[in-house]
């Protein structure tokens, strides 16, 4: 369960990225957070992974109040959260296998577990045979699959995808969305931050629409209603 209670974020001197946002996301949900540029989507995503702290209100994830999370607790939170970014954020000097295993290594996972889990997730995202390639030797779609695999190695309860298809063509976008649906099907809560109308409309899942930092609509089987 993810809970935001009257959350506001004001950047100095007086720019409000979020204003009095309250919402609940149940375990196992697939939620799209949509809005135009500057609506506050990314700020909200950053709060969920404790990259930003709210100016007011509370952020609670699985009963853990992370509003004023301490710096040394952040790694613990992030190991329970899978995160996917538009710009992939892969370690360019590590191979596919190393990028994925790194997320387990930092958590102190034993070698045996890494040897078992990493090939599984590589298979799951369809990158068999490419585990020794470096990110720059992969297409955009393949790089995003590596990111998905990396996000999944911890078997996270929540997967946060911030514009995951922003740099992908239609074919790769469909593949990545199928992958996210598959992950959600196995019980992982998926939060998709996007402004891609086609993707949101094709999903037919819950849609939370942000505008100027406030929630303007929250529909259980919603559509992208904002003007282009």
């Amino acid at each position: 369960m993810i809970q935001l209670e009257h959350v506001s974020k004001i950047y100095a001197p007086s720019t409000a990225a979020l204003q009095d946002v309250s919402l609940r996301i149940a375990a196992g949900d697939f939620v799209s957070i949509v809005g135009q540029s500057g609506a506050g989507k990314t700020t909200l995503a950053k709060m969920l992974m404790a990259e930003e702290q709210p100016t007011e209100g509370r952020v609670i994830i699985g009963g853990w109040d992370i509003t004023r999370i301490r710096s040394y607790e952040i790694p613990q939170l992030r190991r329970q959260l899978g995160v996917i970014f538009q710009d992939y954020k892969l370690l360019l000097k590590k191979t596919v296998y190393e990028n994925i295993s790194f997320a387990l290594e930092v958590a102190g996972a034993p070698r045996k577990r890494i040897r078992d889990v990493v090939p599984q997730v590589i298979r799951m995202v369809g990158l068999e045979g490419k585990d020794h390639r470096f990110p720059q030797q992969l297409s955009g779609g393949e790089q995003q699959r590596v990111v998905v695999a990396r996000a999944l190695v911890h078997r996270p309860k929540i997967l946060l995808a911030d514009e995951p298809t922003g740099n992908l063509d239609t074919h790769n976008t469909r593949d990545i969305m199928d992958l996210l649906l598959k992950i959600n099907h196995f019980g992982t809560t998926v939060i998709l931050v996007t402004h891609n109308r086609e993707v949101v409309n094709a999903l037919r899942r819950r849609v939370i629409t942000l505008k100027d930092g406030t929630v303007v609509s929250d529909q259980s089987e919603g559509k992208y209603t904002l003007p282009v």
Partner: protein
Amino acid sequence: MITFWRIFAASWKHVFRNAWIGLATIFVFMMALFSVNVLLGVNAMLDQTLKILEDRIDVTVSFTTTAPVAVVNQARFYLASLPQVSEVTQLSADEVLQRFRDTHKAESKVLGALEELNGNPLGAQITVKAKNPEDYPFIIKAIQNPQYAEFINPPVYDDHQIAIARVQEIGRSTRIVGAILVALFALFGLLIAFNAIRVAVYTQREEIAIMRLVGASSFYIRAPFILEGLWLTLIALIFSGLAIYGAVLWLEPALSPLFEGAGAGLSGFFIGQAPLIIAVEGGSLIILVMMVSWVAVGRYIKR
């Protein structure tokens, strides 16, 4: 344990995968070490020059022809007993005369004049070397003891006092200037090393941010960078040490003629002081690199 092994392995991966930045950093470290050691070498050569000059200084006490041998012997024992004196050499009147003849053997007029004098016009001599040039004024004052004063030719003292004062002044000035230059170059070297590390960390700032995002702790991110800095420093120290050793071995005999065969003082200084030089230069560079790495990485792992 497995985490420490991973950090160790990651630090070496950093070294190899950032080989060009690493090479540039090693080069900068070596330049910093070289500049400091070149000045240390110059300082060592100045010290050697002063030592040679100081070794040349002595005080020669010339006795009158009427001085009894017993008085000359007594003066020698007295001077040798002084803690400031390192060496006393005594020449009898005959030995002094023979030496004079040897020195002027090509000058027939001088030798002719000597023959006309009918007898030895020269008295015995005592040559005194002090442990430190600063001690000569004291030794000169000591020999002016009323017990010996009437048997000693006085003008020798003033000549030596001027020469001694001059050498002492040169020594003081060169040592002060040398120390200031070494301190300045050490400071420049540390600043260069400081910036090299900051640049190396800056180029990897995105990687640091990604590590943080996937749940790496601050220690797990920092430690490989700190170790990477340590390896680069050790590599730079080893190569600098070998290069300096080679340069010293080549320069020492090449410069020896300039020091009248006494040696330039480089091998004595660098080989004799090697443990101290390595400990001070290596230790300060390692501490600086580790501190800078810690701070520089910290800028990118705030949240």
